[in-house]
């Protein structure tokens, strides 16, 4: 294998990793604010993919319009699901387990609804941009560069929202101390609703960008959910910046690991990395023990 091919694989790993980061940061946001582990998060990714497919391929809407519509739809769906299930469970005893169980049920329910609606055929969306960029012998398709660009933009916007807007302050205040936030007038249940919607939309962005490269099937949510879990464990569960770094790291580790073994073992590498991290640093690679 030549050196430039190796660099190409690393860059591809970073690009895929940026998508893992978006999915993982959604899981981290939900866990960070309401301490809920969302097993249905992969389905937001899967439904996001189908929404884009439906709008672009079936309805012929241009991609630059279809993606924002899909994001909005995912946001509303996420918020609706939160309001109908998690909202009630959080007020009861034993919510830590009951929320995991209900999101497991939701995951199967959404998966099989998609199977009924769209069939089991593998779907895909045409490339949003074509062409290949070549630099010093390293060849990267424009589509993949676009993915990286969108990921960087999304992360920048999210960081701005969390750090510099009133909504972001409210989200961070609620995640630090729900009761103290309530004392200063932040309605926790509305923050939870919005956070769930944002997390769902983050999953849908990843799905929209991956749709031209990876097939959309009713089952495409589960593998990405597992990747998201690995990401949040690497970065420390509940940490937004941790999830970003964890995602990129996972992408690169997978790319190198696949070079050393074969693609069949990609997921085993990811999970083994995760279990090793939990063994050594249960609070994540970048978090602090507290």
């Amino acid at each position: 294998m030549t050196f430039s091919l190796f660099i190409e694989q690393i860059i591809n790993g970073l690009i895929i990793g940026s998508m893992y980061a978006l999915v993982g940061s959604g899981i981290a946001l939900i866990y960070g604010t309401m301490r809920v582990l969302n097993l249905a998060h992969g389905e937001f990714y899967m439904l996001g993919g189908y929404l884009v497919f439906f709008l672009v391929v079936t309805c012929g809407v241009p991609a630059y319009l279809a993606i924002p519509i899909a994001l909005l739809a995912a946001f509303l769906l996420g918020a609706l699901i939160q309001r109908l299930t998690i909202h009630y469970l959080l007020q009861r005893e034993g919510w830590a387990f009951s929320t995991i169980a209900v999101t497991l049920g939701l995951s199967i329910f959404l998966q099989n609804s998609a199977l009924l609606l769209f069939g089991e055929n593998v779907q895909s969306v045409p490339y949003y941009v074509t062409g290949i960029v070549e630099f010093a012998g390293v060849r990267i398709p424009m589509q993949r560069l676009l993915i990286l660009g969108v990921a960087i933009l999304t992360i920048a916007v999210m960081t701005y929202v969390l750090k510099a807007t009133r909504l972001g302050w409210a989200i961070r205040a609620t995640s630090q101390d729900r009761d103290a936030a309530a004392v200063v007038g932040i309605p926790a249940s509305r923050i939870y609703l919005i956070t769930f919607g944002i997390a769902a939309a983050l999953g849908a962005i990843a799905a929209a960008m991956m749709a031209p490269i990876y097939a959309i099937t009713p089952w495409s949510g589960l593998p990405i959910l597992f990747k998201g879990f690995v990401v949040v464990i690497l970065g420390g569960l509940g940490s937004f910046p941790g999830a970003i770094v964890g995602g990129l790291l996972l992408g690169v580790v997978e790319a190198v690991g696949v070079q050393l073994t074969s693609t069949e073992w990609r997921d085993v590498i990811a999970f083994a990395l995760m279990i090793a991290v939990i063994w050594v640093r249960p609070w994540g690679l970048f978090g602090s023990k507290s």
């Binding site: 866990y31 582990l37 299930t85 009630y88 469970l89 009861r92 034993g94 830590a96 387990f97 009951s98 995991i100 169980a101 209900v102 497991l104 049920g105 939701l106 995951s107 199967i108 329910f109 959404l110 998966q111 099989n112 609804s113 199977l115 009924l116 589960l222 597992f226 879990f229 690995v230 949040v232 464990i233 569960l237 069949e264 073992w265 997921d267 085993v268 999970f271 083994a272 995760m274 279990i275 939990i278 063994w279 249960p282």
Partner: protein, 338 residues
């Protein structure tokens, strides 16, 4: 759970067992037996999962790994060494126990429920992918077939016990014995001092530790026993079905099924998982024509039970009784005061 069984409860257990034992004599319909055999396999699986999750409070989502490890080890050992399945199912259960202790170790270090859930899920995925990738040994998704069935033998009163696809009575009695064994083991464990310690660990880990409960030992104990039973159920499943694929024996669908059973029956009760396994296996068979809707309905059942019946069907009885007495109360109590 710690109260001694009342006479009517003993009677109920005895009647249920007698009815189950007598059933093959009354009906030789192999379809009915098949559904009951599956219910009992899942009954063991769900009870063992409930032991870890419901009683000890370690919320794991990766028990299908032990089912698959049990099924594949027993089948492979029987295929390659020529040992009898009567022996290999126990070897397989021990292999599953070792796997259970192995995954129990990292869990000892973590107290956060989401971390436990994620680690166990990840472990089961590693097992599934490994089994499906090692095609030279397991034949991957093509399916491992030709798994030897149990050898027949003759009992003095009941006659010959045959283990063939046509005559399922042998399998039926064997899994019934295994079910009684596993339920008995779980009951004894929960009624022992360790059982008290497990429940204490679930309800207040720090308090239990401060009172001298050895968390490490109890977590490993419960993981080992549970993996042993699930491995045993898996081993039986392999010899009974005769063909194994990674998606059928280690797929996440399997775990979802078992979680649904335990939740429907009632988590943290002894009879709940058994009732749940029977009810949901029968529901699946009734829905056989609606194959596409099967998992959709499963998802809906899990959501409904968690939202509206958080303690499962096992607690429906007391709930209804209370409702009835509540409805009666206004008519009877004023009369008393007058």
């Amino acid at each position: 759970m710690f109260e001694p069984l009342r006479p009517w409860q003993w009677l109920l257990v005895a009647i249920t067992l007698a009815a189950l034992a007598a059933l093959p004599l009354l009906s030789s319909n192999s379809y009915v037996l098949h559904v009951l055999i599956l219910s009992m396999i899942f009954g063991i699986f769900a009870s063992a999962w409930n032991l870890v999750t419901g009683f000890a409070g370690l919320k794991t989502f990766g028990h299908h790994a032990f089912f698959g490890i049990g099924a594949y080890s027993s089948a492979l050992v029987a295929l390659h060494s020529g040992l009898s399945p009567w022996l290999t199912i126990w070897i397989a259960a021990l292999i599953a126990t070792v796997a259970g202790l192995f995954i129990g170790l990292p869990i000892l270090r973590i107290r956060s429920m989401p971390h436990v859930a994620i680690v166990t899920l990840g472990f089961a995925e590693i097992v599934r992918i490994t089994i499906s990738n090692l095609q030279s040994i397991t034949r991957g998704e093509l399916g491992l077939w030709g798994i030897p069935p149990f050898e027949s033998f003759t009992l003095p009163v009941l006659g010959e016990m045959k283990f063939t696809p046509a005559d399922k009575a042998g399998y039926y009695y064997l899994i019934l014995v295994l079910l009684v064994f596993s339920t008995g083991l779980i009951t004894l464990l929960m009624r022992s001092k360790s059982g008290l310690a497990l429940v204490a660990m679930r309800d207040a880990e720090d308090a239990a530790e401060s009172l001298g409960v050895n968390l490490t030992r109890h977590k490993l104990l419960v993981f080992g026993v549970s993996a042993f039973l699930v491995g045993l159920a898996g081993a039986f499943f392999g010899h009974y079905i005769g063909i194994l694929t990674p998606s059928a024996a280690v797929g996440p669908d399997l775990m979802i099924l078992v979680i649904a059973m335990a939740l429907v029956g009632g988590l943290g009760t002894l009879s709940g998982p058994l009732v749940g396994a029977l009810v949901l296996t029968c529901v699946v068979e009734l829905l056989r024509d609606l194959n596409d809707l099967r998992l959709l309905i499963y998802g809906a059942i899990i959501i409904t039970v968690v939202m509206f019946l958080p303690k499962g069907l096992a607690t429906l009885g007391p709930l209804v009784r209370r409702r009835i007495t509540y409805l009666r109360a206004p008519t009877t109590s004023p009369a008393k005061h007058l």
